[in-house]
């Protein structure tokens, strides 16, 4: 979550106890105020939405309202969706996104590092990758649907093409920007080219790569959802398109809420893994 929630190991703890106590209390109080304000903001937005909708200031048919969205989610959870149980839809979308994400990340990292390390490859492939990157890749989704059919394969494919490029460019950049002294030092210490790649370039590029992993998981979800939206037998994207087809605006919003929760959970998991992996990094400076 936000940096101000992180445990503040205050250097004040070594100072006089009374003062450090007071500081700790002030920090706690501030945290409380932030949390409370967040809650108030959420209630306010939802409340105004609900109120406007009930008072017919905005059209409830088009804009729906929080209570209806909630009902919709409840109904889907308890009685299933027209396309099958809600869990199944979420599972399909996640499965496609994850598969596409993993494949895209592996391809992006391998190619990025390879091109970052081997000048010749970079010179040959560079322009082609730029051209492919310039293509709005979301338009590939209909092609994939034709190629791979209504099943998960077409969604995985569109997730892969969305994920590949940001990961590739970050890995490439990361491999290129490794501190030259680290590489020189490794070579002097006796590292061969392969050892330099695996034990210097890749570890040094991991923070670059991880930055792209966060963004790219979102892209994988987009790829899966858009694929499902265009044509599928299962998935959250299908829920959206089915709700849209029956003019059920609450359904569209409900699917969005579910998607947001799924994306946030995945993001949290990634951050957790990142913190485990980057113990060697100095802690981020406390937000003030």
């Amino acid at each position: 979550m936000s940096p101000d929630i992180r445990s503040a190991s205050s250097p004040a703890a070594v100072g006089r106890p009374a003062r450090s106590e007071e500081r700790a209390r002030a920090a706690r109080r501030r945290r409380g105020v932030v949390l409370l304000s967040r809650g108030v903001l959420l209630v306010l937005v939802l409340g105004v939405w609900e109120w406007f909708s009930r008072a017919k200031i905005i059209d409830p048919f088009n804009f729906s309202m929080p209570s209806r969205i909630w009902d919709q989610i409840q109904q889907w959870t308890l009685h299933g969706t027209p396309q099958g149980s809600l869990g199944e839809q979420i599972w399909y979308t996640l499965y496609e996104a994850l598969l596409g994400w993993v494949a895209g990340v592996i391809a992006g990292v391998v190619l990025g590092i390879a091109l970052g390390r081997v000048r010749f490859l970079a010179d040959v492939m560079g322009p082609y990758i730029k051209v492919l990157n310039a293509l709005p890749r979301i338009v590939l989704a209909p092609i994939f649907l034709i190629w791979f059919g209504l099943g998960p394969a077409s969604k995985v494919a569109s997730a892969v093409v969305l994920v590949f490029f940001p990961v590739f460019f970050n890995a490439f950049q990361g491999a290129r920007e490794v501190d030259r002294h680290l590489i020189d030092n490794a070579r002097i210490l006796g590292a061969r080219d392969r050892q330099v790649t695996f034990q210097v370039v890749i570890p040094a590029a991991t923070s670059w790569i991880f930055t792209s992993l966060h963004v790219s998981f979102g892209f994988a979800l987009i790829g899966a959802i858009v694929g499902e939206y265009i044509g599928a037998t299962k998935g959250i994207g299908l829920l959206v398109s089915a709700s849209q087809g029956t003019f059920n605006s609450a359904g569209v919003y409900a699917a969005m809420v579910i998607l947001a929760v799924v994306a946030l959970l995945a993001e949290g998991l990634l951050t957790f893994l990142e913190n485990r992996l980057f113990r060697w990094k100095p802690a981020a400076p406390e937000a003030r």
Binding site: D179, H181, L182, D184, N185, A186, R187, I188, L189, G190, A191, R192, Q195, Q199, V200, P203, A204, T206, R279, W280, K281, P282
Partner: protein
């Protein structure tokens, strides 16, 4: 080829030209002749940016000379030689490795078994006084401690030739004096030949057997001074001796002129 009598390092008529990004060529060193005997501690001083560091990268094999020949023990340098150790000016410890793992890196790269590498690394960590820090990461250490890690990870490879590029210039004055003393102790046991590049004349006199003064860039050797101060020396005390001051004055009369030339050039470029 390799005869016992040939000097540890020999540069003959070396010239190095770099291409600048704008396409122009920049001569870093020219007509460079330099000989370092086995077990000698040679300090190289010269005005800033004159090409001292280039000399080291040529000896290490990281760069190839444009002209001339660099020989280690009578054999021409082709690529990086395993006899060479290099301590960089910048921090070159691997930030994702612990202190122990950093010191183990050299032996591990060279195919030494893990257990043996660990033993040797621990031994050198003990010598630089960092045994208690072996599980720390570099960012948790002070600048001086990181430099000690760099020294340990260089010495653990048992280099016959030790190249040092202003290794202590980023440290504060007290730490620097301390590190210089420690370096001399570590070096005393190894019999390695050292080339120590610095812009600090005091440091060079306190450490070295010979001080090489280089000209303003493109650099070449101007003069070589023998330092006849007795060993063991301690940096803080040796520089108060009358002989030290005498040597200092003598070398400065040679070096000061080059520094002045460099400064005037800088002023012209600004104008």
């Amino acid at each position: 080829m390799t005869s016992q009598s040939s000097p540890a390092i020999e540069l003959r008529g070396v010239r190095k030209v770099f291409r600048t990004p704008s396409g122009a060529s920049h001569t870093a060193v020219r007509d460079l002749d330099l000989t370092v005997q086995r077990g000698d501690f040679v300090a190289v001083v010269g005005p800033t940016g004159c090409g001292k560091s280039t000399t080291l990268t040529l000896v290490s094999g990281l760069e190839e000379p444009t002209e001339g020949e660099v020989m280690l023990s009578g054999t021409p340098v082709r690529g990086i030689d395993s006899k060479v150790g290099f301590v960089f000016q910048q921090d070159a410890t691997f930030p994702w490795r612990t202190v122990l793992s950093n010191v183990m890196a050299g032996p591990r790269f060279r195919g030494v078994a893990k257990a043996e590498a660990k033993d040797r690394a621990r031994e050198w960590l003990a010598r630089v006084g960092l045994s208690a820090f072996e599980d720390r990461y570099p960012h948790q250490l002070s600048g001086g401690q990181r430099k000690r890690v760099a020294l340990a990870s260089t010495f653990v490879n048992d280099p016959a030739i030790l190249l040092m590029d202003e290794p202590f210039s980023a440290l504060d004055v007290q730490t620097r004096a301390l590190m210089s003393d420690e370096l001399m102790e570590l070096w005393a046991g190894t019999g390695a030949s050292v080339v120590f590049v610095t812009h600090d004349l005091e440091e060079s006199i306190a450490l070295a057997d010979k001080v090489v003064v280089m000209t303003a860039g493109p650099a070449t050797v101007k003069e070589v001074f023998e330092i006849d101060l007795p060993r063991p020396r301690r940096v803080e005390s040796v520089r108060l001796e009358p002989r030290f001051v005498e040597i200092y004055r003598e070398i400065w009369s040679s070096l000061g002129e080059e520094v002045r030339i460099t400064r005037e050039r800088g002023a012209q470029n600004v104008a």
